[in-house]
Every structure is written in C-alpha cells, then in structure tokens.
Symmetry: C2
C-alpha cells in the first residue's frame, strides 16, 4: 500500500486524492486549514503550517511520496521534505514558477518566446519599461496572485503611478500587451523515467481574469498544435520535471506561440480529461509522482469544460437535470464572488 502526501487542501488536491484512491493509493493531506476539501476525501490529514518542521517531519515519515496541489507551497518546505522522502515537483521547479521574473527568464533562456517583459521594482523602472515595451501592458506582482488578483492593466503611461501604487511595494513585472488571437493550454506530464505525455491542447476563455471555459480541441492548425506540444515537452524536460504541468500559451496572428504562464500542478484547463480520457490529468499526476508509468493521454471524445464561479452555483438544479452534463462540486460552503465552486464537463464528438 502506497500513501501519497499532498501539500495543500483545495479542490485540486481533492480531485488528486480521488484519482489516487481509484488506483488504490491512500492520501495524506497537509494543509493549515482544518476540514479542507481535499482532507474530506482522504485517509489522513495533518493540520499545520508549511514552516512547522516538527509536523513536516512526522508527515514525511507517514507517506511514501509527496506532491503539491498549488504552486505557492514554500520551496523551503519542499526542500525540507525532499531530504526525507521523494518530492515532486521539485523545490527548484516550484521556485521558478513562483516568481514571474524567474519563470520568464527560464523560458526565454531555453528559447521559448513570451510577451516582452521588464522587471519593475520602482516607479522609474515602470516608466522606463512602458517606454520600451509599452504603451499598453499588465503590471503583475512577481509572486503570488492568481485568477486576476495582483494584476493591473495599463492603457498608457498615464496609468503608471496608480498601477505602481497598487503593487503596494511588492516587486513586480510589466508584461507587454500581446494581441493574441486565442489562448490555449497544454497539459503535459513527465514521469520519473523522463517519458513525456501531453493531452490535446484546449482553448480557454476568461472573464475578469478567471477561466470560464476550456474547449477541446483548440481551433488551431496542425503545425501550431505540434509546436505547442513540442514547447511543453521542452519545458518539462528542461525543468527535469516530474508530474503534471499546465502551460498557458497565446496564439498570435500567423500561429506564433508565446508562453503566458506555467503552473507546476494539475490545471483547471485540464479538468475535461476526467470525462474525455481513460486516464485523467489527476491520475496522470499521481502516476508520475508515485513513480508509476504514465498513461495514455489520448482523448476518446471532444469536450467543453465550464467553471462554476460564485453565484453560478445557483445553476446546479438545472445542471443536475441536464442530459449529458457531468457535474463536479468542490464542497465549499460559501459562494463568494470569483470563488471556484465547481465545474461541469460536456462531451462532444467521439474521437477515432
């Protein structure tokens, strides 16, 4: 019997734990919050902070492998655990993904294009950056921030002072505006043996910075698709990555690809794989971090995944009654605006 330790207790951990259970693997959730969504479907839970070395030591003794369900697990926590038990993804991969400057430097360093960017620590930095790569762009904190949080859009130099103030002194990065045709993502997995498997790219639509839908396949030509898959493979191999990663890309006019962001974990844009594939992204991640061979990522059906955000939860009665709708609710009590409460996947045409 294998026990997989998971750092973090949200819905991604919850779906990972259920995928692990399907393979007969117990999960042990480590999370500062009691009664987390993931802990409620797991064999064991530790409620403690990510810097509590006593609790981390006991956790390491109780599990056979450790993984993470969100990218902002402190790298020091991963490093502390990795001295005691296999940890994937590595502290190094987390460190790169946790800092937008480190991430973009890494990507550019292996020959992958991003939107133009500049590191911004001062208002002077921001004005200079707008001069070089502006006039439009998005100012983001280097660390933390997701679903549009910690981000300010600039329409011109006149927005600089207010945008810089919004960073509240946090180191930031200006990303030049990328006039993309569409946004896609590749969910890739790499095993301990170095094997890489990618799911079919999905096409994503956001609203107010939050993912609304992912549609598979993306409306891109074969050359763009193959370039996207090759890019994801280059990233996971360069990171010596083990596990599932989400790679968000902008498709520019003419088909050029810019990487927007990498997320070193299972990804919201891969939820469709639960219904569309024999082996979901969650099972694929469990396989990878437990040292099992990766599964076949081929989809049997096209699919559309729709997030249920905040008050979308009020549509649940209609979704329960809708033929063909596969509903997932995350067991969160409070439907705050912008909070991901669940998702629904609808299968489309059969593939192959």
């Amino acid at each position: 019997m294998t026990t997989l330790g998971i750092l973090g207790g949200g819905q991604l951990g919850r779906m990972l734990a259920m995928a692990a259970a399907r393979l007969g693997i117990d999960c042990h959730i480590y999370c500062p919050d009691a009664g987390s969504p993931a802990a409620r479907v797991s064999a064991a839970a530790t409620v403690a902070g990510y810097h509590d070395e006593g609790a981390l030591s006991l956790f390491a003794e109780a599990v056979d492998a450790v993984t993470t369900e969100f990218e902002n697990v402190p790298a020091a926590t991963a490093r502390f655990l990795a001295a005691r038990v296999p940890v994937h993804p590595s502290a190094e991969a987390l460190e790169i993904a946790q800092d937008r400057v480190a991430e973009k430097s890494f990507l550019n360093g292996i020959g992958i294009e991003t939107a133009p960017w500049r590191s911004v620590d001062t208002l002077d930095d921001l004005n200079a950056a707008l001069d070089e790569i502006g006039p439009r762009g998005i100012l983001k904190t280097r660390r933390l921030g997701y679903d549009g949080k910690g981000q300010v859009r600039l329409e011109g130099p006149e927005d600089a002072t207010e945008a810089f103030a919004a960073m509240a002194g946090a180191p930031a990065v200006l990303e030049g505006f990328a006039a993309f045709e569409r946004e896609i993502s590749v969910i890739a997995a790499r095993g301990t043996d170095g094997a890489v498997r990618c799911y079919e790219p999905g096409e994503n639509r956001h609203s107010e910075g939050i993912l609304r839908t992912t549609t598979v396949p993306a409306q891109i030509d074969a050359a763009t698709r193959n370039a996207a898959l090759a890019m994801a493979e280059r990233i996971v191999s360069a990171l010596d990555y083990v596990g599932v990663i989400g790679v968000e890309m902008f498709v520019m006019e003419g088909g050029a690809l810019l990487v927007n962001e990498i997320a070193p974990r299972v990804h919201n844009t891969g939820h469709w794989t639960l219904e569309g594939c024999a082996v979901s992204q969650f099972e694929q991640h469990v396989r990878a971090v437990c040292g099992l061979p990766l599964g076949d990522p081929a989809r049997h059906s096209d699919a559309v995944m729709e997030n249920l955000i905040g008050n979308d939860i009020d549509t649940v009665p209609a979704l329960l009654a809708e033929p063909g709708a596969a509903l997932h609710l995350y067991g969160k009590g409070d439907a705050r605006p912008g909070r991901k409460m669940g998702h629904v996947t609808r299968l489309r045409a059969r593939v192959g």
Copy 2:
C-alpha cells in the same frame, strides 16, 4: 452541506463516497472494521457493530441521510436508524432481498417469473423439491452467500444428501436449473419522487460463481430489452424503493425473462457507468438517497467492464500501460483467491 451516512465499508461504499464527493457531499462510513476501503476516502468514520445502538444513535445525529452499500445490513439496524433520519433503501426492501424465499415470493407475487424454486428446511423437503422441479438445480442458503458462496449445484437426486449437508442446517432454497441463453442485468434507480431511470442492460459472464465481465449493450432484441426495463421498473415501484438496484435476469430461448436475483444497492454489473455515462450508478444512487433529482442514465459509449479477481492483480502493470483502459483498484491489501481487487473498463463505440 449534506453529510451522507453509509452502512458498510467495502469497494461499493468507496465508489459511492467518491461519487458523493463529486457532488460536494461529505460521507460518514459506519462499519465494524477500522480502515475500511470506504472510510479511507470519506470525511468521517464510525467503527462499531451494526447492533450497537449507542453508536448508531450518534451516527444518526451526525448525518442527514443514510444508505447501505451491501444488502446484508441487518434490517433492524436500518429500522433503528429510520426512526431518526431518512434511510434508503428501506428496512422492508432489505428484508425482502436478504431472504431468497421472501425475494422469490415477492417477485412471483407481482407477476415476475423466476426459475422454479422450493423452500428447503429438511432433507425430505429437498428430495420432494427435486422430484417436482428437478432433477437438476442449485441449493442455496436462504440468507447470506454471494459470489457463489453458500451454493451447491445438484446434477441429480443422488447429490441430495451431500448438498443438504453442505447447508450446515441453514434454511435453504432449491432453484430449478434454468437453461438460459444469456444473463443480463438492469441497473435501475428510483427517486424519492417516484421517478425511475434505468441504464442500458448489460450482459454478464461469470466464472466459478463470480462476475468476470459485463458487456454493454447486451446482445438482445428490442422487445427483450424493453421487457427487461419494464420488469425492473415494476420491481422498484412495487418495493416503493429509493436508490439504485441491480436486477439480474436470465434470458431464455425465445426471449422470456426470469429474474435470478435482486441486489438492493449499486451493483458490480453497473461499474461500466463510471466511464460510459455522464451520471454513474454511484452518483445516481447518491442523488436518489439524498433526495436530489435523478440524472440522465443514457450512455455515451458502449463499454466492457472486467473484474480483477485475486491474482488478476498481477496484470496491473499491463493494464497501466494499455491505451484506453480505465483502471480501478480498491485498496485491498491481500489478493486472496476469489477476492474482488479492482476492475477495468474499456469504452467501445460511441452511442448517438
């Protein structure tokens, strides 16, 4: 937040708990064994006997509804709980399904054919029964027994003494031999509102009394299919049943249907619905017993489900590598002969 109590901790409870979790519902497992497969994926567990009224009272207070994952939960337990919290299926339905004589009497009483049968309490009863409905048949204990346990096949009157001895004094029933063409099952669900939904009948193959495969759809003509569905609907309505039930049927030459057995729970022959339908039998059961509307039982794909029994667990490495194979392992430590360790489902052609 709803909490569903489940009596029993095996793999059926485990898959029910995961389906409940997908709808944001917590599960609380009540089972005499610590660390049961179902408890390891649930929010809470009580380890106590089924006649422990103190523990049952506390359990009833902790949950919003109660269901069962195996048919041999003592009816008295269900009745004790039903005075405190909604319990589905009912104690009455369990009592009928727990006693082969009560079950066959019920079925015949609502005009549903079974193989000929006689109640057997003495060796004289058995000899008389063989005379009337023999010479071939199967002697089964009235209660308990599954996967071929508590059953003896008789090829003629000369087998009577030994077969009767094998019952070890337990009340029994002789079932006349039914020369069926195939065995099918209908997984039916009935909601608290009386709505009935049936999945497509599957065709079952057994070996040594244990289910090996279920193939969907069954190779039967439309008239037989419709008769099978109507029969399942008649059974759940007559029982005033709430939840999922498995109805095993023999298809005779010419298409006549005999009901072999009813199982008042999710059923091994319905596991294919996890991959083949948007709403699986497990989610359907959770919906029913929690008072939610039933979901669409239509399948999107044909499917074949294969059980992994005992040493079949040794094929897991090959199954992990097989494209399109959806693997389920139940987290049982010891692969004893005849023990159900997991199953694998393979989707076939798309439907519709």
